[in-house]
Subunit: 419 residues, 2 copies
Amino acid sequence: MDIAKEIQKIAQQAREASTQIARLSSEVKDRALGMMAEGLVEKKAFLLAENRKDLEQAKKEGLSKAMLDRLALTEVGVKEIAQGLREIALLPDPVGEVVKMWRRPNGLVVGKMRIPLGVIGVIYESRPNVTADAAGLCLKGGNAVILRGGSEAIRSNRAIGNVLQEAMEKAGIHTAAVQVIPHTEREAVEEMLKMEEFIDVIIPRGGEGLIRFVVERSRIPVIKHYKGVCHIFVDATADKAMALEICYNAKVQRPGVCNAMETLLVHQEAAPSLLPPIAEKLQKAGVELRGCARTRRILPNAKEAMEEDWYAEYLDLILAVKVVDDIAEAIDHIGRYGSRHTDAIITSDYANAQRFLREVDSSTVLVNASTRFSDGYQLGLGAEIGISTTKLHAFGPMGVEDLTTTKFIIYGDGQIRTS
Amino acid sequence: MDIAKEIQKIAQQAREASTQIARLSSEVKDRALGMMAEGLVEKKAFLLAENRKDLEQAKKEGLSKAMLDRLALTEVGVKEIAQGLREIALLPDPVGEVVKMWRRPNGLVVGKMRIPLGVIGVIYESRPNVTADAAGLCLKGGNAVILRGGSEAIRSNRAIGNVLQEAMEKAGIHTAAVQVIPHTEREAVEEMLKMEEFIDVIIPRGGEGLIRFVVERSRIPVIKHYKGVCHIFVDATADKAMALEICYNAKVQRPGVCNAMETLLVHQEAAPSLLPPIAEKLQKAGVELRGCARTRRILPNAKEAMEEDWYAEYLDLILAVKVVDDIAEAIDHIGRYGSRHTDAIITSDYANAQRFLREVDSSTVLVNASTRFSDGYQLGLGAEIGISTTKLHAFGPMGVEDLTTTKFIIYGDGQIRTS
């Protein structure tokens, strides 16, 4: 069978399964999630064995240490994946929730009811845990899912998919609701992106290259996230100790992630007293600073920042630093160079806090807290299927609720329209 | 200047204007809407004169009577357009609303705040009133809008655009927030659909041909609506008088619109007693019936329905009629042949009412009311920018609120992340 036909079959089966999955009660879904978790733990040995084959192949192909780390499954890792599914089971079920209901003058009672999106395609790299996480979240939201991981993790992903499907069969739910694409060819992704008849939305998770590849080829709407160029603006009235702690946390705690700080903006009045201690703390942790001219007058040992530094997502221990005249310049800078991901202000000024929250056009805007909180778990969404930096449908970290939409339900008693 | 460059300039200006428009207070926006309404009434003579030129040209080009009707502006029509803008001003402002707010265990207070989408492109046909309606709705939602109407209405649309911009200038708001594309070439639309850097969403309004043209070419997300194949299912326990009234209303009151009934499904137990009077009432109004075999045993004078009739959006006095075994067959039929637009059940059975509302996967599902209520005004959204039959972002009639999204706002007091 050729790949195009097989992908079409997978997509068609997902569409069929989605009708059943959409109508499942929360009880049935949550029991299935529990059985999926159990299955993973029971089949641990099989999963680790398949993962070892992926790792051996990856080593042969010379994948980087970082890539191998992301690819590796451990006994503890499998337990965590199972625990993740159990936590998804404990989340409230968004499907069927009536988010609003009102009465019209003619007596019609109109409501908006949450319903599943339908079929979701997830395209991702490396980490095999995404296979189970995404499957669990989509299922909880009443959706069928088609999973396409990286070729380097193909055996691990297929193994996880098989174990999940066995558990779903035991739980009596349609196994085509979770399908792992068994093909590693790029053609498989390209075919998947053409299935607008069967797939409702594509969620790519991975580097900017993967995401651009998907966006350029997809006929299906894509919920995407290019990069996180996150800013912290230290205002004139910032508490010094707080500014030190938050800047350090946002840059150093985990520099390789999208919600780490990449640019520090400091109010000109705060710069002389705050930049030196912040710089010292960061430099002790190995952070390279690249500053504007005013920054370098205060921090002579900082490198010179070039125009491209203001756009950079370093994902590394490097920080661009700029002294700004005031909050207006900070907000303008973020609008011009930022990626609409996550930005924070540190201030003691009430009006500036409110203004920053209102005017910064990013998916997550914080006052007096680390940018690292821009994350589904941290914000209390329960779990995260991804982050969107485009505004349509969802903006920011996305939880189960973002895998649903609403329809109008209308209770009448014979109303007809007269005009 | 070539068209591509000019469209880019328009899009770029819209993006710039959108930053100002997003931050306007409700008062300023509503005052501007009032002045726009006033401007249209004051410049009535100019608008009617420009519209007459369009009409003359259209007559020369042999446009149909229906097209000419849609194109024509009248004195009353201009007043109604102005009234529409005043009503938009009276709607609640969605921007800045915090739809939810919660506290995390670490003390962070997390909220979701409504914000504008940014720049909206509206592509539409004939009716010049859309120019003012869409401009008003987008502005109310804090968005800039780029309007591209049909070439046959170009003088009318430009005139309306000019009057609106004059009023906006008087009101002190950025006039590039409402721009009418002055080019009638198809190339102008094609260029517009490439401006993903400046335009956040495209809303096409018109026939299926226009919408498919837009979807195939757009790099920007499209909120779309192909067609309305709306069903009414008359259940075994339907009230006879109610079924008669609702079926008549849904088919005959305005057959040319997307929320008119196109297929009638009747429960086999109700068919012998209900089909004859329904058929009589509809046939008296000139409706042609096309029935399945079981229908034609009860209504021998009905034509035979072919497979394609179940998919048909007649937009005319034609109705496909099918007798079904039960509610399950009705729901399956709607799932297979419907367009996910609007479907209704007429029943006295509590469980069937609830089941139909839950299981029919359409944007608007009604019990005991006419499908004709699937409309922004009728549902109480205040005004309608369009209807979406795809699930992403919005599903069903869309009001001002659907021209916004939400961002996370977070109030902290020094929180940093430790894991």
